[in-house]
């Protein structure tokens, strides 16, 4: 067991450690800091103690596996509706940096229907994969957890990658957990930063927690390999595509039959919106200020001119003005568009958790004190029903639409 040790003689009772604990495990008792069972041994307090009274006794885990047997960086090549997902290319771009830092190969892991497989593999190579591990089967026509998890577990057991990255999409987050549990290795969710520790060569995985209020950097103990992570889409830039790149394709069969797949997809009901929140470069969002379902009309009109998706705050969704698919925020979706236009949204911390990493935030709100203005790149104080139609007209004019 690890232990957090507080030296009673050194502790001056300055209380600097209490507020930095993300888990609320530290408190003051008779002028000295004490720790309770909420402690997760994250070490945040160790760094801030000005008198070095806090130390952590970490149990050294004996390394029982041969880590040198694990090499190369793998990226799961996700596809849907006959197209490779953008996040897979973004991960090939980031994976290239990791592979260079480790001096190893960058590989794609692809499961696809034989009709599409070759084309997807070539695309992965064009975006930087030197090798693609390909499992072809008609079972991959529509995504299902069982065949995807089976193919990944078998490939990873056989070829032993050092790092495996998945897009943090509904697909990646659905089966990566199954793969990690089956292999009994670590999995870090929804990362927004990756790099290689120069000394240990371990993968440092950085991710937001507490609705984006804190960031945590996570490592895998060396007796667990591969190091696996799901990575948030649109965090890393799209690398250059180069169709002249060459790479090898290694084929492996799927050791599973249709009868062994436990779930059956009966139907797919496409969303009604033409632009999807997950892919949108621009999102126009409405909140409590839109006042009712018809209040979304000017929002939709602006979105249409910009080719944007329509978002909403929890207040608008809970009032029944727009469906849940549109909700941005802690209990909705996390988005990261280039431009986020918040109309009549006050900007609660929960809403911010879902959109504050957008590149540009525009706030339109009647209330100059609304918290959204504090994180906005540009703000206009005014009634959205006046401002938004004016914006729509002005964009129409400039864009010639």
């Amino acid at each position: 067991m690890a232990r957090l040790l507080i030296d009673k003689d050194l502790c001056t009772g300055c209380e600097s450690c209490v507020p930095v604990c993300p888990f609320g495990a530290l408190s003051m008792k008779e002028g000295i800091a004490v720790v309770d069972e909420k402690c997760t041994f994250c070490g945040a307090c160790v760094d801030v103690c000005p008198v070095n009274a806090i130390t952590m006794e970490k149990e050294e885990k004996a390394v029982t596996i041969d880590t040198s047997a694990f090499k190369d960086v793998w990226v799961f090549i996700e596809h849907e509706f006959g197209k490779v997902s953008g996040v897979s290319f973004e991960l090939l771009g980031e994976g290239r940096k990791l592979a260079n830092a480790l001096g190893c190969k960058l590989c794609g892991m692809l499961f696809a229907d034989p009709e599409l497989a070759e084309g997807f593999a070539k695309e992965a190579i064009a975006y930087g994969a030197e090798r693609v591990y390909l499992v072809e089967s008609p079972l991959f026509k529509i995504y299902r957890t069982d065949p995807y998890a089976k193919a990944a577990v078998d490939l990873i057991r056989k070829y032993k990658p050092e790092i495996v990255l998945f897009g943090a999409t509904t697909q990646g987050r659905d089966f990566a957990g199954t793969v990690a549990t089956t292999l009994e290795v670590g999995l870090t969710a929804d990362c927004t930063g990756l790099d290689i520790d120069p000394e240990t060569k371990y993968l440092r995985q950085t991710r937001p927690a507490f609705g984006g209020n804190i960031m945590a950097t996570i490592l895998d103990y060396p007796n667990y390999r591969p190091q696996m992570a799901t990575v948030r889409p649109k965090v890393f830039p799209m690398p250059e595509r180069d169709d002249s790149r060459k790479g090898e394709i290694i084929r492996e069969p799927l050791q599973m039959t249709e009868e062994q797949v436990r779930t059956k997809v009966l139907e797919f009901i496409r969303g009604t919106e033409t632009v999807n929140l997950a892919d949108a470069e621009i999102i126009v969002s409405g909140g409590r200020g839109v006042g009712g379902p018809e209040g979304f009309k000017p929002i939709r009109e602006l979105a249409e001119v910009l080719g944007a998706a329509v978002g909403a705050s929890r207040a608008a969704v809970d009032s029944g003005w727009i469906s849940y698919e549109h909700q941005v925020g802690q209990t909705g979706r996390t988005v990261r568009p280039k431009i986020y236009i918040a109309c009549g949204i006050s900007g609660s911390i929960q809403h911010q958790a879902g959109m504050k990493t957008s590149e540009i935030i525009v706030a339109i709100n009647k209330d100059p004190e609304a918290p959204i203005f504090k994180i906005a790149t540009y703000g206009i104080v005014g009634d959205l029903f006046t401002v938004v139609p004016m914006l729509t007209e002005e964009f129409k004019k400039r864009l010639g639409r």
Binding site: P19, T170, A180, T181, L187, I214, R262, V265, A363, I375
Partner: protein
Amino acid sequence: MKIVVCVKQVPDTTDVKIDPKTNTLIREGVASICNPFDEYAIEEALRIKEKLGGEVHVITMGPPQAIEVLRNALAVGADKVYLISDKAFAGSDTLATAYALSKTIEYIGGADLVICGKQAIDGDTAQVGPGIATRLGIPQLTYVSKIREIDLEKKKIIVERLLEYGREVVEAPLPALITVVKDINEPRLPSLIGIKKAAKAQIPTLTAKDINADENRIGLKGSPTWVVKVFTPEARGGGGEILKGELNEVVPLLVTKLMETKFIK
């Protein structure tokens, strides 16, 4: 029909604020709540029970004070609740947590259906649900926004999953595990009688030994991942530029600024 719901006590992040001086989270006075997604999980279990009969068991792993979320579950109508609490679980990551919860489900006699929230709002990992399903060897249906049908005779469930581009209708055999999103229902409030009953209830606490957990698979020992650093993200640079003046001036100005970004095509 026996339904097991897994819940987590989380800090009520509505209250989390950053101290502008030290740039750290202010934790004092932050209330603990039941993870919002887990409230939908409990509600869905109660609705299934009301329709098909059976029992709803709610389990949580956490420190002794996590018992509060179980009292709330009792107050809205859960039949049995269990607190899994032991110092040996401290430091558990998602792999170790899913292991402990799956061992608990086995210990209480298994389930026809396991329901979890999509994710917890503190860690946001969405990994524990799939982890439990894998350990129990049952199929998982994640991001469920609607249960269309449960057929107890044929032992199957049909659900809608809310994905990026629409809703997928999927069938799975029971027992199965589902994780639910907010759209699935509107949780009820506890009744006064429910609250009174729950306040008096004796809630069993299970230790690592009780659930037959392998000590090498729980707590820090059973956790492959390790948080090495926690820090506050950089604040958004500089704060906002409020465009002041008449609307027929500031609107074109804003459009010009946005057009300059080249993001508008």
